[in-house]
């Protein structure tokens, strides 16, 4: 048996349906109080991974542990530790927002004296004052917010949110991520799947999935470096640049890549363990004067494509994937 202090761990986990493997060789260790983002196109295995983590599925190979226990055999009472928001939230159209939240509270064993707790959660998701509104009369955004509140209602130790930000506006998405971070800071472990690759920046650990396998796992910074071959900087000069500048830059130890990106700008990739941005100007000499250096804003689409490959949206065995399913945040 695998010994680990991780909140969630996958050790060589695979899952198949009939004879088709939809997930293979998954290795993950998610420390307590961490946000792990599962990023990948539709059919890449994100939902299956979450369902293996929460005990909905049993692994066909390898071992899954959740809070030190096999989630597939976890006792019923211990399941109160899990908060799960499925891709399609379970809400009842004929019930009001309050009644829906109350139902989920009951299912998760929240004590009868819960009125204050429910009010706080509705306030959190900015649905206070609309308690009596029926779900059937609510917008898609309101439903997503209510679903999130329902997942949080019993204050679980581990939250598994399957595409919680799908279909909601950027402002609300940002608020969701603010709250996710706050939950993490309080010690909650969060597993969040998303098709929006830019949301990787909000996570502590990102697992990029494709074809039912992990293409890359690491912190956002690590993934950036992995994708670009180092830290990407724009070096701006006071005069127009030419090939000689690029040659000088490539000659510096720690510079992995250099190419002009504008009349007076060269984009370089450096190994931050060897070279710091501030060391570039002194090493160029007097021929070229550096006006300044700036870290390039990460294009997570590029990172994803770089790490996962352009064929990421090809069909995974037994699980259809479409090219446009590789999500890009608006």
């Amino acid at each position: 048996m695998m010994e680990t202090n991780a909140a969630i761990s996958f050790d060589g986990v695979g899952k198949r349906f009939d004879d088709t493997w939809v997930l293979r060789d998954i290795d993950l260790d998610v420390p307590p109080g961490t946000i792990i983002g599962m990023i990948g196109p539709s059919g890449s295995g994100k939902t299956t991974t979450v369902r293996l983590a929460n005990g909905y599925y049993r692994a066909d190979e390898g071992e899954v542990r959740l809070l030190g226990t096999d989630p597939a055999t976890m006792p019923t009472a211990q399941r109160r530790s899990i908060g799960y928001l499925p891709q399609h939230p379970v809400l009842f159209d004929e019930l009001s927002l309050w009644e829906n939240l109350n139902f989920h509270a009951s299912m998760n064993g929240v004590a009868f004296s819960r009125r204050r707790r429910l009010r706080e959660l509705l306030e959190l998701v900015e649905l206070d004052g609309q308690e009596k509104k029926l779900v059937s009369e609510s917008s898609g955004g309101m439903r997503r917010r209510l679903a999130l509140a329902a997942t949080l209602v019993h204050a679980p130790r581990v939250l598994m949110l399957d595409e919680p930000t799908a279909g909601i506006d950027p402002i609300l998405r940002r608020r969701f991520w603010d709250h996710f971070r706050q939950l993490r800071d309080d010690g909650t472990t969060l597993v969040i799947t998303t098709q929006y690759v830019t949301e990787a920046a909000h996570c502590d650990v990102v697992a990029m999935l494709a074809h039912g396998q992990t293409a890359a796992v690491g912190s956002p910074a690590e993934l950036r470096r992995q994708a670009y071959g180092g830290l990407e900087l724009d070096v701006r000069f006071e005069q127009p640049v030419d090939d000689s500048v690029v040659g000088l830059l490539l000659a510096i130890d720690g510079v992995k890549r250099a190419e002009p990106s504008d009349v007076d700008v060269v984009r370089v990739a450096i190994d931050p363990d060897v070279l710091e941005a501030s060391d570039i100007a002194p090493r160029l000499g007097d021929e070229f004067t550096v006006a300044g250096t700036a870290e390039v804003a990460t294009d997570w689409d590029d990172v994803f494509i770089e790490l996962v490959g352009a064929d990421a949206s090809d069909d995974v065995e037994g699980d259809a994937v479409t090219a446009d399913a590789v999500g890009v945040a608006p």
Partner: protein
């Protein structure tokens, strides 16, 4: 956004009675969901009650009386007889007319204006005298087996009644013959007195003449009595009546033989006249007994008198109401339970159940409690409505009705949960629920008696909760009796079987794959 989390998780989770917390969630959800769908309530609760009410108000048993035209020869005895006995057969037939036009009558039958055409034989006497029965033909166009049976029974009863009336008249005629017999008897007695006077006066010629007249008179008496006896035997008169006639025949023959012997000898003495007087007295006594018999009693020695042990009569609507209530309640909760679980599954709630802190047993409990409450309220409303609104009798102990309804509801919900486990969609669940409704309607004793079915088909009746529910409600409400224990045992066994099977199937669905 601020963090609303409590200090510790322990402060918000129920330390004990978690099942009660979860159960309360199910109860609220199911009741609110149904209450928020007034059309559903209208269709499933108010609608059936209105159907029941319309049935009770609109059902007219008189509509089963058959409109009938009689066809026979003009100015025949039938016309008068028809008018007489259709008064007595009013519960079976409504006399439209007596006509000689068979073609017109058949046309009316074809056009649906008539239910029956009764055709009398044109010359029944000839047929009867030839030793055959005269046939009364009954024409109808019913295809409903129940109506066909009604026609056949009505025809049988009507022909029997007609035969009885004719026989009554024949016997009445026999009595008419017997009345001259009495006059003849008086004449014989007068002749005997005159004969006695002639013998006393020694007037031999007069005595011989009177003896001859007396022989003729008593011979006629014997003949009439013999004929009456034969007729009575042929018409099937009672044994008692025939015995009386035989006795009269014997005494009359003895009198006639004695007078015959006296006439042959030509020597009449006083003692002979005394002996004849005694024999004449015996004949009179026997004759008196025969003539006092009622002709209708001779023809119909037996009559029927039905006695119902039930304290009060039960109308058609009364009889069907308990079965309708049981069937409606079965359908109501069975449909709710089936639809609810299928809907939960479609919404993804089963995924939550599988991941969350809840097992198959609690999910089922969460369905049984709210639907039993809803069914109980619907049942109470229906029974109260038919009791007060339709004047349905409620003769037994209400506690038994409550117990019966509770058992019926639990078993029906069990069927609903089982249906939900084998249904893949809402539509399929509704179809199965309708099948259960049809099975309940045909095999549950709603309008067809359970004994009308053979095994193994009859077994369907015993797995339908409505079968037991109907029997319990009829026993308690209509008969005023306590229900049979076997009905509760049957309901209990059905409930245990379907709930157990549902549990196994649900647990399998919620098991980790």
């Amino acid at each position: 956004m601020r963090d609303p989390r409590p200090d510790t998780r322990r402060s918000i989770l129920a330390p004990r009675f978690g099942w009660l917390v979860q159960l309360s969630g199910f109860v609220r959800k199911e009741i609110f969901e149904i209450a928020r769908q007034p059309r559903l309530l209208l269709v499933l609760v108010v609608g059936p009650f209105l159907v029941l009410a319309l049935f009770a108000v609109g059902f007219d048993q008189q509509k089963t009386v058959l409109n009938t035209t009689f066809v026979g020869p003009p100015d025949s005895v039938y016309e008068e007889s028809v008018a007489e006995f259709t008064d007595d057969l009013g519960q079976y037939i409504n006399l439209r007319e007596y006509t000689t036009d068979l073609v017109a009558a058949q046309r009316q039958l074809d056009e649906g204006d008539l239910d029956l055409v009764v055709v009398f034989p044109t010359d029944p006497a000839e047929t009867i005298l030839s030793g055959e029965q005269a046939v009364i033909k009954v024409i109808h166009d019913k295809i409903d087996p129940i109506q066909q049976t009604t026609v056949e029974v009505s025809t049988q009863v009507a022909v029997q009644e007609l035969n009885a009336r004719i026989l009554e008249r024949v016997v009445g005629a026999t009595q008419d013959v017997l009345v001259p017999y009495e006059e003849s008897l008086d004449r014989s007695a007068a002749l005997l007195d005159e004969l006695s006077a002639a013998v006393a006066a020694g007037d031999a010629p007069e005595a011989e003449r009177l003896t001859g007249e007396l022989e003729t008179s008593t011979g006629a008496l014997a003949t009439i009595v013999d004929l009456s006896g034969e007729l009575a035997a042929k018409v099937g008169a009672s044994d008692e009546a025939q015995s009386e006639l035989n006795e009269l025949s014997g005494s009359t023959t003895e009198l006639s033989d004695a007078i015959g012997r006296l006439a042959e000898s030509g020597d009449v003495a006083e003692r002979d006249i005394e002996a004849l007087s005694e024999l004449l007295g015996v004949v009179r006594t026997s004759g008196d007994r025969v003539t006092t018999l009622d002709p209708s009693v001779v023809v119909r020695p037996f009559s029927g008198d039905t006695a119902n042990l039930q304290r009060e009569s039960v109308s058609v609507a009364d009889f069907f109401a308990p079965a309708a209530i049981a069937l409606l309640l079965q359908h109501l909760v069975l449909t709710f339970a089936a639809m609810s679980l299928v809907s939960d599954r479609a919404r993804g709630l089963f995924e939550m159940f599988r991941v969350g802190p809840i097992g198959a047993g609690r999910v089922l409990l969460g369905k049984f409690v709210p639907f039993t409450l809803i069914g109980g309220m619907a049942g109470a409303a229906l029974i109260t409505a038919v009791w007060l609104g339709l004047d349905l009798p409620f003769r037994g102990d209400p506690v038994w009705v409550v117990a019966g309804l509770l058992a019926l509801l639990i078993a029906s919900i069990g069927w609903g949960t089982l249906i939900s486990m084998v249904s893949r969609s809402d539509t399929q669940a509704v179809q199965y629920a309708l099948l259960a409704l049809l099975a309940g309607l045909f095999f549950g004793g709603f309008f067809l008696d359970l004994d009308a079915f053979r095994y193994p088909v009859k077994a369907i009746a015993w797995i339908m909760p409505v079968t037991y529910g109907t029997r319990i409600l009829r026993d308690v409400m209509l008969r005023g009796n306590d229900p049979a224990l076997i009905d509760f045992i049957g309901l209990g066994a059905t409930a245990v079987a379907v709930i157990g099977l549902s549990w196994v199937l649900l647990a399998r669905r919620l098991r980790v794959e």
